[in-house]
């Protein structure tokens, strides 16, 4: 529109736009501390000019859109690093629990083994002494009990992790359903050509939470649609539909993660669920197997040595410990001292009670390669070192990944974070623009009044 009314309408568009810009600024300030919020900037464009023949008339300013500032590459990096960080931290927590069972060199299985062999040494100068013999049985009992306890603790931990797997899958399903829901809402708003900033923030935040649990890959399919899959392709969300995972007890007695009928337990590579599965299915069974090896090796060697001698009654020696299960699995949990009568320790090599000749055979087991080609104490020392270095390495990786996450979050802050100084400056800017346009309106108002009064000489009001 041309003329004064045209000018007026231009000024009005500026007032409206300044108001909307101030609204955006106010929204940013209100959300300055909202986690995951991406600051919004109003994108102002000159209004499309009106064309009258060869004349092109301006139409003021238009708020094209409210743009959320975020860096999609950073979001991908944050998701990946979150997966890595959660994976490491989930394992670290479990490993720290495991290693408390191996923390002391003066108590625990290693010390028990040492004390047992030492009790045999103490018996040798006085082999008929019943108190010293009882001390051997007591030391043997302590050793067996500590093997039982260590194995049981690991089993309990494993079964707790089973529960964690089920809970994690439940949480994953809740999140994927929420993501699908938000995606649907985003789609609706986009069709209406409306700003989707806060919803996209919400979607991003949900995906980040999901990354804490599972190794999710995000593929944008355009028009705001997204596909979420695990890194090996298992579908989680496709467009507005989510695919729930389930858990099923497998043939090994543990909970398996299923996508439909496909078992994806071993294919997860990031997030806390994968970390939990790694400990449950690799670390803990590995430790149990080593404890079983040691328990079985010791039991078998000591039983064989005892059978080479004679007890206090002149009878051939029997088993000192219960015979380990065939194949060795469960040896640590099942280890027991097989005798309660101290006279049954076969110390004698010639049938007389006063002979200590077979104690040498029993003691020699301490220097035999009873497990994995190592002596009992060497094997246990290696085990302790191993637990320590696995835990220490995982801790270092978790720390490194936390540092990276922190840096990435800093970068995200610098792109998307609300700066109160900036918003204050913007507010001043939009306020001034509003004031200027308001002044234009009052000027036009005065001019219109003059125009209306053209031709009047002041006598008609």
């Amino acid at each position: 529109m041309s003329g004064l009314y045209g000018t007026l309408s231009i000024a009005l568009s500026a007032l409206a736009t300044s108001q909307q810009a101030l609204e955006t600024t106010s929204n940013n300030v209100a959300n300055a501390n909202t986690p995951g919020y991406s600051r919004e900037v109003p994108v102002l464009e000159p209004g499309a000019p009106l064309l009258f023949g060869s004349l092109s008339l301006p139409t003021g300013v238009v708020l094209d859109k409210i743009e959320s500032l975020r860096d999609p590459i950073l979001e991908i990096q944050l998701n990946q690093e979150t997966q890595q960080n959660s994976y490491q931290n989930a394992q670290l927590a479990q490993l720290q629990q495991i290693q408390t069972g191996f923390s002391s060199a003066t108590s625990g299985i290693g010390a028990d083994i040492t004390n047992f062999f030492n009790s045999l040494q103490q018996l040798s100068p006085d082999p008929t002494n019943l108190a010293l013999r009882q001390a051997v049985l007591t030391a043997a009992g302590n050793m067996a009990t500590d093997f039982n306890t260590a194995a049981n603790n690991l089993e309990v931990q494993r079964s707790n992790l089973d529960q964690t797997v089920v809970e994690d899958v439940g949480e994953i399903n809740t999140l994927t359903a929420q993501i699908a829901n938000v995606s649907q809402q985003i789609g609706v708003l986009q069709n209406q050509d409306e700003s989707t900033g806060p919803l996209v923030d919400q979607q991003t935040s949900l995906i980040r939470q999901l990354s804490g649990l599972i190794d999710v890959q995000v593929i944008s399919t355009g028009q705001g649609g997204i596909e979420l899959t695990t890194s090996n392709g298992t579908p989680l969300v496709s467009g507005i539909q989510s695919f729930a995972l389930s858990t099923e007890v497998g043939s090994d007695g543990t909970e398996h993660v299923m996508s439909g009928t496909q078992d994806i337990t071993d294919s997860l590579t990031g997030g806390s669920l994968a970390g939990t599965i790694q400990i449950r299915d690799q670390e803990i069974p590995g430790m149990l197997s080593q404890l079983d090896q040691l328990a079985a090796g010791l039991s078998n060697a000591l039983n064989a040595a005892n059978q080479e001698g004679y007890d206090l009654n002149g009878n051939a020696g029997g088993n000192l410990f219960s015979v380990p299960p065939a194949g060795g699995t469960g040896a640590a949990a099942a280890m027991q001292v097989a005798i309660t009568d101290p006279s049954l320790i076969a110390a004698s090599s010639d049938g007389t009670p006063g002979s200590n000749g077979n104690l040498a055979n029993l003691s020699a087991v301490a220097n035999q390669n009873v497990a994995n080609g190592e002596t009992p104490i060497d094997f246990y020392a290696s085990l302790v070192s191993q637990v320590g270095s696995t835990t220490s390495n995982t801790s270092a990786e978790a720390d490194a990944s936390s540092q990276i996450l922190q840096q990435l979050n800093d970068q995200r802050g610098s792109v998307s974070g609300v700066s109160l100084d900036e918003e204050a400056a913007n507010m001043v800017q939009y306020q001034t623009a509003y004031q200027a346009s308001a002044r234009v309106v009052s000027t036009i108002d005065a001019l219109l009044l003059d125009a209306v009064n053209i031709g009047l000489d002041g006598t008609e009001q």
Binding site: G110, A111, G357, I377, G388, T391, Q406, G413, L420
Partner: protein, 295 residues
């Protein structure tokens, strides 16, 4: 470049880290150990298991050395008494060999010799802490019983067994001499010689010959007795060695896991200073922004 407007999480992370280090230093000082978990120092954690094994066995060997030394000492002391008794018997025998003794004199000598015989049987049956020292491995019963129908006057109920005890890694020593080697060795039997002397004196037989046999048997016994002297020397040498080793093992444990308190205290103060500095930085962190200046 636009600055991250919200650095608080970073500051809090730094504070957390400083506090964590202070906590770890405090743990080290209060436990006196730098290795409280295997992950603190995985290699040292493994070595500490081995070190504990060495320390325990070291103490065990030292304990055994004390025990067997008691046995050696008791045995040696009994044998010393036996030698003294045998010397008296030889003196009596020499007296008896002079041709000028009356029947009653010889009877008196024979009686005293019988007394010595009983004494030596009793000494040969010495027990220590409930075990008979000269019975071989049949330590549950006295090795020698009186048997008047045997030319030696006794029967040996012990055996030839010898027990060994470890007093160091791979280091074993024998801890007993059976009676059959000391008192009733074939061809050198003290009991046979003594009983023969008694009979010679009683029947006025070849006393000089009997004295001579007793004298060689006595020398033989003295030579066998050296076993116990040697054993006690070995005990002493090994005890000295093990005590030195004990110190080394303790030093090794300290170097693996011990905390130098002075260093740890310094680390703690510097960690605490870090914490204070970070706290001060956070509190100084300007909460002012442009809004405060607009009117």
């Amino acid at each position: 470049m636009r600055v991250n407007p919200y650095p608080m999480p970073d500051l809090l992370a730094a504070l957390n880290q400083a506090e964590l280090e202070a906590q770890q230093d405090m743990m080290e000082i209060s436990t006196g150990r730098s290795v409280n978990e295997p992950s603190d120092n995985p290699v040292a954690a493994g070595l500490l298991v081995e070190n504990n094994d060495e320390a325990t066995f070291n103490a065990g060997y030292l304990q055994n050395l004390t025990t067997i030394n008691g046995q050696f000492s008791a045995a040696d002391s009994a044998l010393s008494s036996v030698e003294t008794a045998l010397q008296r018997a030889i003196t009596l025998g020499v007296q008896g060999a002079t041709g000028t003794l009356s029947d009653s004199d010889r009877t008196a000598i024979a009686e005293e010799l019988q007394g010595i015989q009983s004494q030596i049987i009793s000494l040969a049956n010495t027990s220590y802490q409930g075990n008979y020292l000269f019975a071989g491995t049949a330590t549950g019963a006295p090795p020698y019983v009186v048997n008047s129908s045997d030319p030696s006057g006794v029967t040996y109920n012990g055996n030839n067994g010898v027990n060994q005890v470890s007093i160091g890694n791979g280091y074993q020593i024998e801890i007993n001499q059976p009676g059959s080697q000391l008192f009733s060795a074939s061809g050198n039997s003290v009991f046979l010689a003594l009983n023969s002397l008694i009979q010679a004196v009683q029947s006025d037989g070849d006393i000089a010959d009997a004295v001579s046999n007793l004298s060689s048997a006595s020398s033989y016994l003295a030579a066998q007795r050296v076993f116990y002297g040697n054993a006690m020397d070995q005990v002493q040498a090994q005890t000295t060695y093990l005590n030195a080793a004990k110190t080394q093992i303790a030093q090794q444990q300290n170097s693996l896991a011990g905390v130098d308190l002075a260093t740890a205290a310094t680390n703690l103060s510097s960690a605490q200073a870090d914490t204070q500095a970070t706290l001060a930085a956070i509190s100084e962190f300007s909460q002012m922004n442009l809004f405060d200046y607009l009117h």
